[in-house]
Symmetry: C2
Subunit: 288 residues, 2 copies
């Protein structure tokens, strides 16, 4: 009997980060989450075969698309094979035995501190202290044991470092979600022959791509025609000035459909006629 | 003789922030920059007439659109009257008399620290310390005078707090720009009659708007037709899931043209036919 080797999934941040929550959400206990200090290092690890996948945040409902990670997906050429969304729930976390009345200082990443204004308004006795990472601030509580301190991070971070949650869900906005892509060295295998025999039959798949057009009136309109004329639903369209080339734009686009579906293939062929560059980043089952 | 009252322009952050650089870029010395701890407080100050304008970051070439500020622009109904872009140049800053060889710890916002990887790789003797704000980390040097400390922030922050720059431009990426909107209580006055007598004659103006469509195939294509069929150039198009309404999308769109131009008016009329909601956020001279 051979023991099945666990998945090794890279992410950026400390153990207990929201990216690790995305890994757990997708894999349960069947994957080991492997932390890296930077996104680039997580991509490098996957490209070098040191991990079997990488879980990468690509957009957030408050903060927009993470252009840096779109750049890495394009440059490393590692395909997207799955997506998932995590609700960003901030918790006030402390060492075992610490009560809320003991807390004088709260450590976290400045972005997380800024997402808990109501909590700080209602508790003027506690000071905010910036830290480089949300989960890292819980790790620091354990390593340095500062007096009267708590941290703001995910529930997973509390669990990871053996701390306890003093107050759950202290974030101002419950509509704060981060969408993650799972990347692999190879694309998802082609789906069953049904796709080719029954065009449009494969529901529940999304395809992500980037394309560039010249900055002329109507260029985007012609590109959109490739999808609209075939009744293909779009989930995302976003323009971004193309790095280093003034007045050229790169577009991110997600559509509903499997990339191997003949309808999708015709749309992509049409898009290639009117765009300067088209690159499919991946095809994956539609997440929740 | 009456002394002309200076403009009072609100921004989020500490004195010396990149938003203050945007104010200086636009106004030179003719405006007083007024710092507020949060974006919402800066918007509130403008809505309450406590300042004459607000300078608000709306997108960054690495980090994408600031959805929070799009929300504030929509909710407060304060019009955009100008735009400007600031290149994000990070400098290593210290108290007068401190030499580079003295520096053991570097304070800044984690995002800024992460944008100077090459510097930290080349200087392993210095440790990174997270702070809540870039300019705020220079202020802290002056207030607390920690030994062996430097900060990463704008050149303006060095000037503001009487510190000096040890190393200029230590950021990894020179293509890091933030685009700012200037908001006022009232929209720019209508431009000369020339617009109405010679449609399409007013060059160099941009109009920003948001619209929503039902999530049906081709909905966006029909919306884009309003501009494409009139040869109107687009600068930005971005979809975003509509907060709290699943499967509905809100779009940000910037086009080249004055809102009062009859061609623009026809395009907006056409857009209103095919979109559920259309809201013009402002019309302003095209920035550099």
């Amino acid at each position: 009997m051979t023991k099945k080797t666990k998945e090794q999934i890279a992410f950026q941040g400390e153990l207990g980060a929201f990216s690790q929550m995305a890994i757990r959400q997708m894999f349960g206990d069947s994957a080991v989450a492997r932390p890296f200090p930077t996104f680039e290092q997580a991509f490098r690890a996957l490209a070098a075969g040191k991990v079997t996948g990488a879980m990468i945040p690509i957009e957030n409902t408050l903060h927009g698309s993470v252009h840096e990670n779109y750049d890495h997906v394009m440059n490393f050429g590692l395909p997207i094979v799955a997506e998932t969304s995590v609700r960003i729930v901030h918790n006030l976390i402390a060492l075992p035995g610490v009560r809320f009345s003991d807390v004088k200082r709260v450590y976290s990443h400045p972005v997380a501190l800024n997402q808990c204004h109501d909590f700080f308004r209602q508790n003027p006795q506690v000071a905010r202290v910036s830290h480089y990472d949300t989960a890292g601030s819980v790790k620091m509580l354990v390593d340095e044991r500062p007096e009267g301190a708590a941290a703001i991070a995910s529930a997973l971070a509390a669990e990871q470092y053996g701390c306890h949650i003093l107050k759950k869900s202290i974030e101002d906005d419950r509509q704060n979600f981060t969408r993650f892509f799972l990347l692999r060295p190879k694309a998802n295998p082609e789906t069953p022959k049904a796709i080719k025999s029954r065009p449009g039959s494969v529901r529940g798949w999304k395809t992500s791509l980037v394309f560039t057009t010249k900055n002329t009136p109507g260029a985007l309109f012609r590109a959109m025609a490739a999808f609209a004329l075939r009744d293909i639903s779009l989930f995302k369209i976003e323009s971004r000035p193309f790095k280093g080339r003034r007045w050229e734009y790169i577009f991110y686009l997600d559509f509903l459909g499997h990339v191997d579906d003949p309808v999708s293939q015709k749309a992509l062929g049409h898009l290639r006629e009117v765009a300067d560059m088209v690159k499919v980043l991946g095809c994956y089952p539609r997440g929740d």
